[in-house]
Amino acid sequence: MTQLLDEGMAVTARTPQGTNRLFVAGERAHYNAHVAAYGALDLSRIGPELIAELDRSGLTGRGGAGFAVARKFGAMPTRRGRMWPASAVVIANGAEGEPRSLKDEALLRNAPHLVIDGLLAAGAAVNAARLYIYTTAASLETVKRAIGERRDAHRIHVVEAPDTFISGEASAVVNAITTGTALPTDRTQRLTTSGLKQRPTLVHNVETLAHVGLIARFGGDWFRGVGSSRDPGTRLVTVSGAVPRDRVLEVAGDTRIIDILAASGAADSHISAVLVGGYHGTWITRDHLGANLSNAGLAAYGGSPGAGILYVLDVNKCGLRFSAEVVRYLANESAQQCGPCMFGLPEMATLLERIASGDRDPAVARELRNLSETVVGRGSCHHPNGTSRFAISTLAAFAADAQAHLQGRCLRVERH
C-alpha cells in the first residue's frame, strides 16, 4: 500500500507505524539514532518529483495557516524559462512566537535531523541556492549541534529569531534574515514569487518540514495511512492550562479534541472551554469538545487547528478575564507599524478589560465588536485579523459570563 518513491526506498521495518512518527528516534536523537530509526535520506534522488508526492500526501502547513504544502511548492517558479534557475530560498521557520506553543521547540530538541532532512529535501525539490533555519535562542545550540553531526547540512544558515509574537510571521522571517529586524513588511507579491532579496522563497514551519522529510522517504500514501482522508497524517499539539503538565503530543489528523484532552489528563468536569489555535484562535465550549481537530471539524465554529495549540480553561476561571489579558498581550506585541493595529488593539484590550472587570455599560461590547470589525484586513500582516477573531470568539463563548457581568454578578469562583 505504501507508494515507493523509487526502487531504492523499500518499505522496511523502519517505516513508522501508528501515530508515533516524528519521535521514533527517541529523545534528543543524535544523527546515528536518527538514521537507525528512519534510514538515511539519499538527497541525490530527490528532485521536483517530491512535489507530486507531497500533493499525494495532502500535507498542510503546521505553522498556523494550514496551507496545502504542495501548492506552495508548486508556486515556486520552475527551471523552464529562467536564465539562472538556482536562485530559490527555503526557510525552516522555528520561531514559535505563540506563548502557548511548545511543539517546535520540542521537535528541534528531539528530532532536529528530521527537520534538517525536510529542509534539504525541499531545497532539492526547488533547486534552492540558500537554506535557512530560523529559530529562537533556546533552540539555536541544538540545531547547530545537529548540523555538525552530519555532512550534508553545512550549507544551512542558522539565524536567531527574537522571542516576540510576530517574529514568526512569514515576511518578518524574511526581513529578519535580510536586515536583522523581525517585523512584517509590506508586500505586493507572494514570497514564492519574490521574497528574500527578491528571490523565490519558501517559508515552512519546522514541523511541516519534518513531515516532508518523512514523505521523502516513505511516500505520500504512507503519510495518508493515519488520520482521515480530509485531514491525513499526524500533527503535533501543545496542551496547556488546566492540565497536570503542559504537554506536546503527536496525534492523528481529525482526532477529537476531547480525546486529546483525555490523553493530557484534563479532568472533564473542570473544563469550561478550550482555546484552539492559540491567541489568534477560537474558543470551543465544553458542549462541543467532541469536535474534530481539523479544518473541516472546526469550520462550523469558525476555527482551525492552527499550530495545534490547545489551552484548557478551568471552569473556575473567568474566560473574560483570561481573554482580556490575551488581547492586552496581543496589543503589546503589535509591530507598531500600521495604524489600525497600533491604535485599535490597545482600545480593544481596554474594552475587554472593562467587560471582564464588570463594567455595566452594554455599549462596551458593541464598541468592541465594531473595533474588531474595523481593524480586520487593514495592516501589513494578519495580527489584527487574528486578534479580532479571538475577541469575537470570546464574546460568543462567554456570552453568559458577559451577561452576568452586566448585571453585576460573576459566574466563576475565582474573583478578579
Binding site: 509590506d186 489600525p340 493595529c341 501589513s380
Partner: protein, 83 residues
C-alpha cells in the same frame, strides 16, 4: 495580498500610511476614514481593504492620490498582478 482581478488595485502600504487623509478626499467613493484618520475601503470584502479595486472612472483620481500621498504609502497595481 488580494486575489487577482481585472481591475487596477490601489495598494495601501500600512507600514507607511499615517492617516493624513488626502487619498480619502480624492477618492470619496472608494475610501472612508476611521477615527484615527486611516482609510477604510468601502467594500464588504475584508480581503480587499489593502488592495482596493479601482473602477476605470476613478483611475485618474487614484493616480493623483498615489502622487500626492505625503508618506508615499500608495501604489497603483495593474490588473491581475496583485499576488
Amino acid at each position: 495580498m488580494a486575489t487577482p482581478t481585472n481591475r487596477y488595485q490601489l495598494h495601501i502600504d500600512w507600514t507607511k500610511c499615517d492617516g493624513r487623509g488626502l487619498c480619502t478626499e480624492l477618492l470619496p467613493g472608494l475610501l472612508d476614514r476611521d477615527k484615527w484618520g486611516f482609510p477604510v475601503a468601502k467594500t464588504d470584502d475584508v480581503n480587499r481593504r489593502s488592495d482596493v479595486q479601482v473602477p476605470g472612472s476613478l483611475l485618474d483620481a487614484a493616480t493623483d492620490a498615489v502622487e500626492l500621498c505625503p508618506l508615499i504609502a500608495l501604489r497603483l497595481l495593474p490588473p491581475a498582478s496583485a499576488s
